[in-house]
Assembly symmetry: C2
Homo-oligomer: 325 residues x 2
Amino acid sequence: MTGIVLGIDLGGSKLALALGTSEGRVLARSRRPTEPSGDALRDIARIVESARALLAEAGTRAAELDVVGISVPGLADTASGRVLDPPNLPGWRDVPVAAELRAALGCPVRMENDANAAALAEWRFGAAVGCRNAVYLTMSTGVGAGIVLDGKLYRGQLGHAGELGHVPVEWGGERCACGQQGCLEAYVGGRSLTARLRESVPPPSLVAKLAGGREHVTPEHLLAAAREGDAFAMEELARFNHYLARGIVMLAFSLAPEVVVLGTIAAAAGEALCLGPVRERVRENVWPRIARAMRIESAALGEELPYRAALCAALEGELVEAAER
Amino acid sequence: MTGIVLGIDLGGSKLALALGTSEGRVLARSRRPTEPSGDALRDIARIVESARALLAEAGTRAAELDVVGISVPGLADTASGRVLDPPNLPGWRDVPVAAELRAALGCPVRMENDANAAALAEWRFGAAVGCRNAVYLTMSTGVGAGIVLDGKLYRGQLGHAGELGHVPVEWGGERCACGQQGCLEAYVGGRSLTARLRESVPPPSLVAKLAGGREHVTPEHLLAAAREGDAFAMEELARFNHYLARGIVMLAFSLAPEVVVLGTIAAAAGEALCLGPVRERVRENVWPRIARAMRIESAALGEELPYRAALCAALEGELVEAAER
C-alpha cells in the first residue's frame, strides 16, 4: 500500500482526474472536456489515456496506485461496476467501466454515483464537515442527492437512494426528461431551466441581451440579469426557489438532516438570490423545531469539487468485486 | 445482568406493557386504556402501578430488571428523556418521564418514539425481518414513520426524522392538525379520516348504517362497507390509497428502501382494498428499476405489535443519560 490513489470524475461535459493521498490531499490534477464519442469503449480508452498522462506527469506508475476510483453519472450497478444508462453519455448503456479500468490500469476499482461522490467531498472537505447527517443536492444539468446519515453514505437498495431530482414537487406538473411529471428536476435542473428560458425569455429582455439572443440563454445569464434587478429574471428565480424549497421541505420531514448543501446553480446564485429566499420558504413550511435544527448552505468546494469528488470515489466508493467485461 | 427487561408502550388510547428477555421473547404482558387524566405526573404514577402489577404477577422484582424502555408518542427529547408535546396526551408538555420511571423503578431507562419502536418491532419480528433498509408507516390516529437504514434505526437530527405524516402530498391542500397544509396525515391519518367521514358520509349510506349514525362512523365502518362494494366507501378508499401512494413515491425516490411496511388502517384494509391499489399507483409513478426493488407490505405483528414495540424500546431505544426531574 503506497497510500496513493487515482480518482476520475466522469461527467457528461467534463472529465476531471486527481492523483491524491489516502487522506484526500490532491497531488496532481487534470481536466478536459468529456466529448463523448457515442462509443463507450472508445471513451474509456480516452479516459485511460488521460489517466496515464496524469500519472506520467506526476512521475507515478499505475502499479503504485492502491486503487482507482470513478464517479459516474446516473444509475450505476456498483457491485458489478457497470454504468447503466446515464442521461448525458450517449452510447453508455450497461457499460462495464470498472472492469475496463482494472484491465487497463491493473489495480482495484471503486465506483460511486456522482451525487454520492460530491456529497462525500462536501462532507469530508466542504460545507458539511463534522455533520452527522447531511444531504448534498447536485444542481447542474440534472438534480440528484448524496445522503450521509449517521456519519455514513446511505446508498439505498441497489444504490438507488438519493434520486431527489425526481421527487414530485408539483403533482401532475411539468413533464421531466425522465418521463415522470412534476419532478424537482423539471423545475430546477439546468437542462429544464435552460429549455424553459430559451422558450419564455422576452426577446428584448436583459436576459436575452446578456446572452446575445434567446437561443443562447443559460442559467448564468438569468443570474446575471437578476443581479441587475431585471423583473423577468427575478420572477423566474422566485419560481426556482419556490420549487427548490418544496424539495427541501420533504427532506426536512423525512430525514431531518443537520445540513442541506446546495450545489452548482444555487451556489452560483448565492445568498441574496437563492439561499436566503429558500431558507425563508422552508421555514414557512416546516415545523419550527425541525427547521431550527437544519441548516441550508451553499456548497463550499467550488472549482475544487470534481477533484475532491474523484478522490472520494477512490477512497470511499464501493469496491467493485465482480467486475467482468 | 439478568437479561430481563420491561417495555412500556404509551399510546394516547392504550397502554401496553411487556416483560421480556434480551432476545425479545415476551414473558408476561398487560394492557389497559391509557385514560389520560390531564395531569402527566398522575398518569405516570398509574403507569408505574401497572408496571409493578405486571412484575408482581410474573414474580419478578424491579431490581432484577436490566432496563425499562418506554415508547412515547410525538416528538421526544430522548437524550434528556422528556416527552415534548404529544398530540394525544393532554397535560403532557415537556414531561421528564424517563427520570420519573427511573426514580420509581430504580433502573436505567431507554426511550423511543412510537413510530421508531414499531418499526424496530416489525424489522426484528415482523414484515421487515432480514431487510437492510425498511420504512414502517404507522397509520393510526396520526401518521409517522420509523426508518431503518443500513441495518440501523435512523433518528435524524435531534430525533426528528420520520415525520412522514407531514410531508406534503397536496401542496396548499387540506389543513392538518399540525398547522401545515396538505400533509399526508391530513388525508390518511385516522383522526382526519374520521372527521371527514362524519362530515361527508351520506346519511342513508351503508357506512352510516353500519356505524349506527354518521356521528359514530370510524375508518373501520368505511372498510366494512367497502368490503360490501359500497360506492361511497370505495371512492373514499381510492382517495386514501391515492394519497398514501404519493407519500410512498417520495420515499422511493429519496430513500429507495427494500420494503415499506404499512400499519393499522392499511393493514386492516388488506390486499384488495389497499395494498394492491397502492402498489399499482406507486408503480405508475416511480421508475421501474426502483419500484421493482421495493416491496410494499402489510404490518405482520397485528395485536402483538404494542408488546414487541415496548420490548424494542427497552432493547434498542436511546439510553437516557441525563434524566433529570
